[in-house]
């Protein structure tokens, strides 16, 4: 069991920041540095996979055979009441959810 800080797998600060943008995570500089070290350690942990020969092996999605894409009958059913669904919205305007500006005007 290797300590994350001594693991040879390298990961740059820029890569961590790029992933944080993809994940929509605003991270502090300290968080970025801590994650850089921890993620390098975890990538070391999962590197055991590369030693397994998987040539010609299909990937497993559903682990139990026989369940594939499931279609239901196209029959309308009553949805949840709008008021119940919107009760948890942080900001509302009538029956709408109010959000921040998507594009600057």
């Amino acid at each position: 069991m290797s300590d994350a800080s001594t693991n040879p797998t390298s990961l740059t600060t820029e890569e961590v920041r790029r992933v944080a943008v993809l994940a929509r995570l605003g991270l502090s500089d300290e968080e970025v540095e801590r994650l850089r070290v921890e993620m390098a350690g975890l990538l070391g942990e999962v590197s055991a996979l590369q030693a397994v020969d998987t040539s010609g092996v299909e990937a497993t999605g559903h682990a139990v055979e026989g369940v594939h894409t499931v279609m239901r009958e196209d029959v309308p059913v009553p949805p949840l009441p709008v008021a119940d669904v919107l009760a948890n919205a942080p900001r509302r305007e009538g029956d709408y959810i109010r959000v921040q500006a998507v594009m600057e005007g």
Binding site: V19, R24, M39, L42, V52, A63, A89
Partner: protein
Amino acid sequence: MSEHHYQSVREMADALRSGQTTSAALTEEHLARIEALEPQVDAYLAVTADGAREQAAAADAALGAGKGGPLTGIPVQIKDNMATRGVATTCGSRMLEGFVPPYDATVVARLREAGAVMLGKGNMDEFAMGSSTETSAFKPTHNPWDLERVPGGSSGGPAAAVAAGLAPYALGSDTGGSIRQPASCCGIVGLKPTYGLISRYGLVAFGSSLDQIGPMTRTVEDAALVLNAIAGHDPHDSTSLPRPAPDYTAGLKDGVKGMRIGVVAEYFGEGIAPAVADATRAAIERFAALGAEIVEGVSLPTSLTALAAYYIIAPSEASANLARYDGVKYGYSAQDVTDMVGAMAATRDRGLGPEVKRRIMMGTYALSAGYYDAYYKKAQQVRTLIRREFEAAFGRVDLLVTPTAPTPAFRIGEVADPVVMHANDICTVPVNIAGIPAISVPCGFVDGLPVGLQLMGPHLSEATLLRAAHAYEQSAGWFERHPAL
């Protein structure tokens, strides 16, 4: 005051039917015990006393009219990642603090129909990510056998509640061991059913190809009773298996005579505490004495890579599932940031804890352009090899046995390195990777702390697992011990 809190669900049901007690009395006894002990154990994120009293009154009315089943009037705790209509569901995260679901998870609805009395919601690792319940954004849960130690995780609240007599049974969820490892740490029974046997509709999604809900109980028979109530197809969950579920109590007492139980060689050596391996070995001897045929030296070498596959698959799926927490529709929202993308990033930075962020980052990295084939696809291929390895083993034996966790419960704060924390899941993760069922049942004590053994079976072998676990449990008698609180 009558003492029912360490009775099994079956015993409580019998007491209700014979008029020895009422659901109202059982409920009050549990609420009083929660009030007295919860400050030490911290197994609950919310106690729903008023709702419990109403449900108990309804259950007593049903029982008085000669109606109801074995769970009618019996209290239960629900892990806080299952939606409960009108009752806050936090998933152990600030992100969902104050979120009140407008609907019930299918398992919760089925328990309501069965007449259950919900005492409250169980503490857990944030978004079920952890093996100790220490990543809960609200508080750690304490192991009832030693309050300085963790209860395991992520279903640590449910496990501690059931072990401490703060609930007769609980529903947990298991993505990589989150029912079985805390069951082992707290000396109770935990069943992870076959992938697809139980609906996940209303379960907060973590790793969708791995997640399963299951019972956490003090006896194996109770696990069968709870499974009867919650198993079966649900059109709301497209991964649920379109098969009728059998009666899991039928054949429960048929014993293990002639059953072939394979000992998995890889899980008794390196990485497993010798005292844990010894306790499991002693249990295997008892299985032999009960008439099972023990097959030594079953080897599952590829299963040792399951942990690596898991720590790609689970974070990848989590990164996709947790993308929904954007501060727009529900949950925590950073309202002070005025642009949309900045508000989402701030919402997620403030609303999510470090373990969850780390997994989202790992998953996003593994799924990002240029890495998908090397990580996620590779892990899903390895998964196929692990499934085949189990299938081959189950061609030779009925069940496989390993320890459940490599050590007894560790001290709160003792494990900081995530790679070391992950090693807790070494025996349990292969089961989720293969989608097979497994049960943890107490098999003794190490330095006063409970440890469990794990029985694994092929897809949909729950009845066989329960039968074997019941035979061992009744013979070994560990279930009669309770923590001194």
